[in-house]
Symmetry: C2
Subunit: 671 residues, 2 copies
């Protein structure tokens, strides 16, 4: 069941390619589509591309003769039963006689992803083939849901749906279109008259669309017919058209571009504000769930490891799209050689390793971990090049040590980085074990233990009785929440240490408060882990409710209730610099599923799970959490807690100090 | 003088790119243009490509304001005086005020080489700029002779010259065109009548062109007008056209494609056969001197490290095109990560290191060695991964240990490989020293010494008093010439060992004879080093003279005087498999310049040189050898030896036991 959930195309012929190269192709497209005022802004880290020349091979045994056609994106060479034994007339179909055969097909294409498709009786391309970029190494070929010979992977496109504006308003010489909610779309104009330049300014807010000079995204289109289409999808709710010359504007349709995925989870409760927060969070996550998980659809439109790490977790409680997780993790990892951290950020490299653990815990997909082990090792080698005798990973001059946007000193030893690095090593030991690499497992395990031991030696403060931001012995040692909350959620603390950390770091009002939704995500999770559900519920209503009260249709990169009017849209010194649709704003999905409904896997792929619902002051909560084997449905009010287990997995319901087993397919309640 | 000879574009604005990526682009083109019977045959090793997103930067001080235009192949982002300070309206020209500025320009192009050109007063792109593929590392930008804004490096094309056939002969329904000599050209047909398919068979020999079924290169063109052009240049002397349907053939012009380089050397002597051999050798080398040094123009049309290593040496005594050497060495090295040997062959990786030494000795261009040191180290790391306690490089299962086409056993320890590897380590020590990397120098030096010492321990046979092919202690130990001749020319032998090697290996008729021109190249050089000039002269007349007597217009991949007629054209089990224009056939160039004229550098870049002319039985010899600082002209007959030193370097003339200094600009003679 798990197998088919993760690979619904098993049994069909699939297009195949060099593993990871579909992602390289897509990422190159995605990362080259950000424009600011007509200037392309590419990422501040390296861009990889796909290999141009790929060999695909498989050994077959045929019971009867077969004639097959070779479909490929690129130039083809076919070798049958031995290197150099070319089949020059393959275009008329290749005939193989019964018996065992070695088939090797080369596809060359420097411009589009080289890919191959064969669908004949007993001879189909799929992930059982091997691929090589002719570097003397063979790997299992990449494949996905491309099962039609006429639709190769290089034709991959998101879906499109035309949407009409909800209001049209003439303002001065121009027209303002309000599409009612945030979206990513290109534009189709119809009914235009005359000829001239059309100035288009996009706005996530009305104010931004009406400010051609300072809006983040704008373009000028030369209109010569009664209709036009723009080429790139942009993020907006509002569009202002200012025609120039003899042109007069007509109507506008938004061509909404989206990944077709459904929310397999759900959440509903007695508080309508909470319900609206949940729905808006799901919509926010959906808008950022595209070729990959984006940080934000207006800005940066890029794939950042820290942001993605949170999106994966949100995804496990909503879309449960494991392909999207894998695409994003492959894209972030990129290709060898490794000369820089993910997005240049030390912590973001660690989040990639940590994501692998989360992915395995939620999906149980060991095959993916085995796939990435090779690349995980070379990435870890890059990290290990800078480790010292304490087992700490040190920063190169060019490395960015991010942690959070906050007034903190990240020079020298930073406790969060080493806690994240310890976890990364722990994950590597796990993967090595899954791959049967016992030497590797022992190697990473001992490095993990060393790093973790030294984290406590260097960063645990006897004075503050919790982790300090830098070395505890330093005269300027100061407590921050970061290392404390991560160590807590990684299970690195004894019960005693946990209590100390909650009191001295997480709930300590003298400690630097966290202001970004990015780190608030982990803080709220840690507070829930620490049992502070009602504090978290209050914050949810205040912070996310505050955005909804201001008319948000998706959640923002940041929100400060103290700001007024268009102040809310400013960031990075620019009046409309803030992203009003940021994936990390979708945190309520995790709070709803993992902490209020209380559903979490206890073994990889939910083979074991627990449900511990928490009303947190609500009258009732109801919802579903997806797993690789079906949903787990939960209801809870003051009277009872009930679980419907639609999965083949063994669960346990914990409520008010009671525990009861939830067998596969059963409905069980307490109270 | 040396500086300007190597960089004639100094002072002009040049297009710049990521270092090595011009070569990656060209190599991808070159290696994707080999077709056999309509099927593209790509190399049996990996193909690299250029990076798609490059940042170029430079810090400038301007005395007065400047306005400059940005020329680029790709999409552009301009940042002035700080990351993120974008100049959105750069297309109208960028204005900089007097003072110091940091300019950073990003060029994105996934389809063609990203390159940049700026030519303003005080602000010019050139090799003083730095480039990065945004992987946190900056390198000196690549540049060459692209100095026109309208001619970017991606437009690089060889020259073209239309050539008419020397004879046209109607044979059956077709027409045979003889262009008089071997060439690489596409075809232009004119005066065709009717419409139909034209079957074109190319032949390096008349027999091949007339055999449509078995010729190596053929194509079918659909002719619908009175003229047509083929798209790919092919290697041929003869072309046979067989029109089909209502088509009748017209005339044919060869569009000869070539690299415009001149022979800066010369050789002439009293024997006309020798003169014709020399001229044909130069033509053979020229045909294979293109984007890179090819092995052969019909087959493989690829860049092989072993073949190239010889072409470089021939080039130093003829075209002295150091850019062509650098292009080829960069192309062979490719990009990191390294997962395989050059062309998959262990020895070919070593020849790459050895080529660096030769390049430095002849050109004195230390800058190139400093450029490649980074990549040389990672390639050597790849070799060192397999070294054992003796310091020998071992073969991975996927490695090809070539040595030579000969009935030899290359399993286990092979003396030639370890001698080549020792030399590679010696070269690495040299480069490390040039780069000021004293630790690296000491490291490679000690590895070199260890490997060399163990070569003598393991492979020097007390019984045979020379090197054996495998370990000398083995019961089946056998002498081959390979390790012996290379150790001799690398200077690894004492005078006593040298004499033993000459007698027991090189001139020993019981030792397996060398039959390929590839290894004969080194054998003849070693024989000359051993003073056997007249043996070499005799072989020249017999072997190369033999090909001329059979009508060769360029020298072949192999030649066996015992074969008859079309037997000469067969190889690899195919009737026309042999290449009749193979770079390694051009060996007489080296013999003429280095051994008969006797000109050789004694210090890098000819800063010191010697001239030791050898008549080898001829009545007189006369010729020139190019250096980075002008030619060295030599004349010798029985009476006297004379040198005209057109260089600024100090030379010495050695003749008949006498030695005399040859100061810069002077003419000196002995006798």
């Amino acid at each position: 069941m798990l197998e088919s959930a993760l690979n619904p195309q098993a049994g069909k012929a699939q297009w195949i390619w060099y593993p990871g190269d579909f992602e390289m192709m897509l990422l190159l497209r995605v990362h080259s589509r950000r424009y600011e005022r007509g200037m392309q802004i590419t990422p501040c880290w390296h861009m990889d591309t796909f290999f141009p020349n790929i060999k695909f091979r498989r050994r077959f045994h045929l019971e009867k003769p077969v004639v097959f056609q070779v479909h490929a994106t690129g130039e083809v060479a076919v070798e049958v039963d031995g290197g150099g034994r070319y089949c020059y007339d393959y275009q008329d179909g290749v005939r193989l006689e019964p018996g065992s055969h070695d088939l090797c097909i080369t596809v060359f294409n420097p411009h589009e992803l080289p890919a191959l498709y064969i669908d004949a009786d007993g001879l189909q391309t799929n992930g059982a083939w091997e691929a090589s970029n002719v570097d003397s190494r063979w790997l299992p070929a990449g494949s996905w849901n491309f099962t039609s010979p006429s639709c190769p992977p290089s034709d991959f496109r998101l879906e499109m749906q035309p949407l009409q504006p909800v209001s049209v308003e003439k303002i001065g010489q121009g027209v303002l279109f309000d599409f009612g909610k945030e979206m990513m779309a290109s534009l189709k104009g119809e009914g235009f008259k005359g000829e001239g330049i059309l100035h288009i300014s996009y706005g996530e807010s009305r104010e931004e669309a009406l400010n051609y000079a300072e809006c983040e995204v704008r373009e000028d289109v030369k209109v010569t017919e009664d209709c036009f289409e723009t080429t790139l999808p942009r993020a907006f709710r509002f569009v202002f058209l200012a025609p120039e010359g003899g042109l007069s504007a007509g109507g506008l349709t938004a061509l909404y571009e989206y990944l077709p995925i459904e929310n397999k989870g759900s959440f509903e409760c007695s508080d309508d504000l909470l319900n609206r927060i949940y729905d808006t969070a799901v919509y926010t996550l959906h808008l950022n769930s595209r070729e990959f998980f984006f940080d934000g659809i207006k800005r940066d439109r890029w794939v950042w490891g820290g942001d993605a790490c949170q999106s994966y977790l949100l995804n496990y409680y909503s879309f449960f799209d494991s392909e999207l997780c894998k695409r994003t993790m492959r894209a972030l990892r990129g290709k060898d050689p490794v000369h820089q951290h993910h997005n240049t950020i030390q912590d973001y490299t660690c989040y990639w390793f940590i994501s692998l653990y989360d992915y395995y815990l939620y999906t149980g997909d060991a095959a993916f971990l085995r796939e990435v082990y090779r690349n995980a090792r070379t990435l870890m080698d890059f990290c290990l090049e800078t480790t010292d005798e304490r087992g700490f990973m040190n920063a190169r001059p060019e490395d960015w040590v991010f942690v959070d946007w906050a007034p903190i000193n990240n020079k020298g030893d930073v406790s969060l980085i080493q806690i994240l690095f310890a976890r990364s090593l722990e994950v590597m030991a796990l993967i090595a074990g899954l791959c049967g690499d016992e030497n590797g497992r022992a190697f990473y395990h001992s490095l993990w233990q060393k790093c973790l031991k030294n984290c406590f030696e260097i960063f645990w403060s006897a004075r503050y009785n919790c982790f300090t931001h830098g070395p505890a012995a330093a005269s300027d040692a100061v407590v921050t929440k970061y290392a404390n909350m991560f160590a807590l959620s990684f299970g690195y603390l004894s019960e005693e240490q946990k209590a100390a950390v909650i009191q001295n770091a997480l709930l300590n009002e003298t400690v630097l408060p966290i202001t970004t939704p990015y780190m608030r995500f982990y803080e709220l999770a840690a507070l829930c882990d620490a049992g502070c559900y009602e504090d978290v519920m209050g914050f949810l209503r205040e912070y996310w409710g505050g955005m909804l009260r201001l008319g948000a249709t998706s959640f923002w990169e940041a929100y400060d209730a103290a700001e007024q009017g268009a102040q809310h849209y400013a960031m990075y010194g620019r009046p409309f610099g803030k992203s009003l649709c940021h994936a990390w704003g979708a945190g309520p999905i995790l709070l709803a599923g993992k902490y209020f409904l209380g559903v979490r896997p206890e073994a990889p792929g939910y083979e074991k799970f627990t449900v511990s619902p928490h009303l947190a002051g609500l009258a009732y909560i109801r919802g579903s959490v997806p797993t690789p084997g079906g949903t787990i449905d939960v209801f809870c009010d003051g009277e009872k807690a009930e679980v419907v287990n639609h999965t083949p997995f063994e669960g346990a319901l914990e409520w008010k100090g009671q525990v009861v087993a939830v067998p596969p397919g059963q409905t069980v309640s307490l109270g």
